[in-house]
């Protein structure tokens, strides 16, 4: 919630929880922090039960560093592993029903614009590949067709991690999973192509091998969504449990998959490109409005 909307009465700051003081005094709530400063400021995510060494956890951590105005952001998610960490972040989190994240985010973004005309509210959907490409697919597509101004981030671990290893539309063809013992029959869905067809303003595919690039991509997507239209980030965030990757090798796997089939790519519509080149990329630091 914006620090302008909820103000602490002068003199009472020291009675607020230590975590609040750390975040507001010198943390990511006052100014945009850089990836290179990580470790030197209090980050917005507290302890959570995601598995040790999960690449999705790292990606979520980087997202909370990258958001251009943490105090004005709202995250929409759903069932799946990511919400275990997202729900422990110091940013409002709406737990949508499995399937309706992008419908909820559409209404929320429009409502926030009416309720807070003088504040720029950033709505970001962050959910799994099952949540967005399978059960939430229709709502994702229609939010794109309607040109809704928010960012959708797919945490693509290529499996239903939270429920023990079912194949998703984003699983690669032939993959054998605990609950897909004969191997997946169909191809991995091409959500990037679908996003292009639906007119998404900015699209990026990224793996968490380069933290600064991840952060720049997220910031870009959120700023373009404010001004131009829907944006989509598809992030390779391996599930070391269901893919049996020993945790010390999680980053090696990310580098291999990136080199093989998940290289960094980004795509802009003409309008998004023009906005980014002329305005967006020149904006520095926290941008509230």
């Amino acid at each position: 919630m914006s620090l302008e909307t909820i103000k602490v009465s002068p003199g009472f700051e020291k009675y607020l929880p230590k975590e609040y003081q750390d975040l507001v005094d010198d943390g990511p709530f006052v100014k945009q922090r850089k990836v290179s400063e990580m470790g030197s400021f209090k980050e917005a995510i507290e302890e959570h039960p995601m598995c040790a060494g999960c690449a999705m956890t790292l990606f979520i951590r980087l997202t909370y560093v990258a958001l251009p105005s943490l105090e004005n952001s709202v995250i929409v998610g759903t069932a799946g592993c990511g919400r275990l960490a997202i729900s422990q972040g110091a940013v409002p989190f709406i737990y949508g029903n499995y399937g309706d994240t992008n419908a909820v985010a559409s209404g929320l973004k429009r409502g926030l614009d009416i309720r807070f005309p003088n504040q720029e509210k950033d709505v970001v959907v962050m959910a799994g590949d099952g949540g967005l490409a399978d059960i939430g697919f229709h709502a994702v597509m229609h939010s794109w067709f309607r040109n809704e101004k928010f960012t959708t981030i797919m945490l693509d671990n290529e499996v239903y991690g939270n429920t023990g290893g079912q194949e998703s539309g984003m699983t690669q063809k032939g993959t054998v999973m605990k609950m897909a013992p004969l191997g997946k029959k169909g191809e991995k869905m091409d959500m990037i192509a679908l996003a292009k067809t639906s007119g998404v303003a900015y699209i990026a595919r990224v793996a968490p091998t380069n933290p600064t690039r991840v952060a720049n991509t997220i910031r870009k997507a959120v700023l373009i969504a404010r001004e131009v239209g829907p944006t989509y980030i598809q992030a390779y965030t391996s599930c070391n449990i269901e893919y049996a990757i020993p945790t010390p090798l999680v980053m090696d796997d990310a580098r291999e998959v990136e080199a093989d089939r998940y290289g960094f790519t980004e795509y802009f519509t003409d309008e998004a490109k023009s906005y980014w080149d002329n305005t967006g990329r020149k904006i520095k630091g926290t941008v509230k409005k």
Binding site: K18, E19, Q21, D22, D25, D26, G27, V35, S36, M38, G39, S40, K42, E43, A44, I45, E46, E47, M50, C51, A52, G53, C54, A55, T57, L58, R61, Y64, P211, T212, T247, P248, L249, V250, M251, D252
Partner: protein, 92 residues
């Protein structure tokens, strides 16, 4: 018994590197003491994944991080006892 990451502050302190702070999946776990110029680990937050070891050995090429059984850690820093801001002061 589980192991946590243990940073050799003498090796790390000579590098000005910071790389592992960007790759640990856990927030507020590898902290950075800008006075001594070294990274250090909040042992109560470390989940023992060893990602930081690979980053330090293979990317940074400093070999400053070893995994240590939790009962062998001497004076391990616990962030839950002091909070974030104080932790930076405490560690100096």
């Amino acid at each position: 018994m589980y192991s946590v990451a243990d940073i050799d502050v003498d090796i790390c302190g000579a590098t000005k590197c910071r790389l592992c702070t960007q790759f640990c999946p856990e927030s507020n776990t590898i902290l950075y003491d800008s006075v001594r110029g070294t990274a250090y680990v909040a042992v109560d937050r470390c989940k023992g994944c060893e990602i930081c070891v690979g980053i330090c050995d293979d990317l940074a090429k400093h070999e400053a991080i070893k995994m240590l059984p939790i009962d062998k850690v001497v004076d391990g820093f616990e962030i839950c006892k002091v909070g974030f801001k104080e932790s930076l002061v405490e560690a100096k």
